[in-house]
Subunit: 212 residues, 2 copies
């Protein structure tokens, strides 16, 4: 095993450190964020920082770095209060990755990547090629002091997904949806099921947390 | 395709909705969070809400729900200012999953799950069986108004990982590390590499964002 401490991390070359730290969390979701500007220019940006925030109300969060690509994304969300999340599949991951290039504000990544705009009940664009599409409205914006990033929380307004991918208990089979996963900034992986486990229970009642 | 709107989501049975919304983000990282209380009781809790926050300084964030299992986790982090993240592998995912059971505060999930405590330079326990281990110190705690959850940001103090898993450019091969991924609350998956893509560049210089 290797042991790498904080000092060694701070001494790493910039690009090396970026790759290294971006891998630490483990495998990540990868979504294209679809937004539209006040001037009606559509925007797409890949993000691997989407997390579950709560089920009731249905909330999802996403961290955005203002000084990298999603700058237009943040502006558009603050203007319109809406964004879409679109699961990336193996069929279009190269086009999706291309959306991380630094296009000017008046250029749509849909055109540059060859992906197709689709509209549902919100104003923001969805990616027609995506299998799972989620429309969100902004509920809370948190400015993170320690490094000037922003955490945006949205409420799920609509979900579009393929037929017959939801189990009886609400679980979505993401492999049937062809959703893929990413590690670091740029490596894409498909998945294979190991197991689904039942709700974990305390083995001996006397060791259980007492509800207050 | 199926279209499920906010009203339909709110009308779902509670457990169904929890499963459904927990699947929406896509595949997630799965880590065991290791902490220790003031009374020196160790605690382990699985979390799938860890994200990258920044590389310089090296920061990671994690969302915690106070009213579910990681209650002791939050208390311990607020007391000690430290926690560990431990990548779950196929070799111990069942033991890791068991740590989500609601054990009382004076019971260590290490003992109950059969996983082994390990100590490095911080006070918090690591999981010996984990391949990638990250030690963090608390930098910022954000209380999310919209649903009473907490987003904790920590600075990476040390990383332990297997030899020969870091590429020349700092990228960590998580498959070599045997790290697995999760969907929803309880489904575990292994991964297989599709491709690693180069840094995306604007194809036509005239379409590029001008740095200000």
């Amino acid at each position: 095993m290797m042991n790498i401490n904080n000092q060694k991390i701070l001494a790493m070359e910039k690009r090396y450190r970026t790759n290294f730290i971006n891998c630490l969390s483990g495998f990540k979701s990868i979504n294209l964020v679809g937004t539209i500007s006040q001037e009606r220019v559509t925007n797409l940006a890949p993000v691997s920082s989407v997390i579950h925030v709560g089920a009731n109300p249905p909330l999802m969060g996403m961290l955005i770095r203002p000084n990298t690509v999603p700058r237009n994304t943040l502006e558009n969300i603050m203007t319109t209060g809406q964004w879409s999340l679109n699961h990336i599949t193996e069929d279009f991951y190269k086009a999706a990755h291309h959306c991380s290039a630094r296009y000017a504000k008046n250029i749509s990544e849909f055109e540059q990547s060859g992906l197709t705009e689709e509209y549902l009940s919100l104003h923001c664009p969805y990616v027609k090629e995506a299998s799972v599409k989620i429309g969100l409205t902004l509920k809370e914006r948190i400015d993170i002091e320690v490094n000037g990033t922003h955490f945006l929380i949205g409420e799920v307004q609509e979900v579009v997904l393929p037929e017959d991918t939801i189990s009886e208990d609400g679980f979505i089979d993401l492999e049937l949806c062809k959703t893929i996963t990413v590690s670091g900034l740029d490596k894409y992986h498909r998945t294979a099921s190991i197991d689904r486990l039942p709700y974990a229970k305390v083995r001996d009642e006397s060791l259980k947390e007492q509800s207050s």
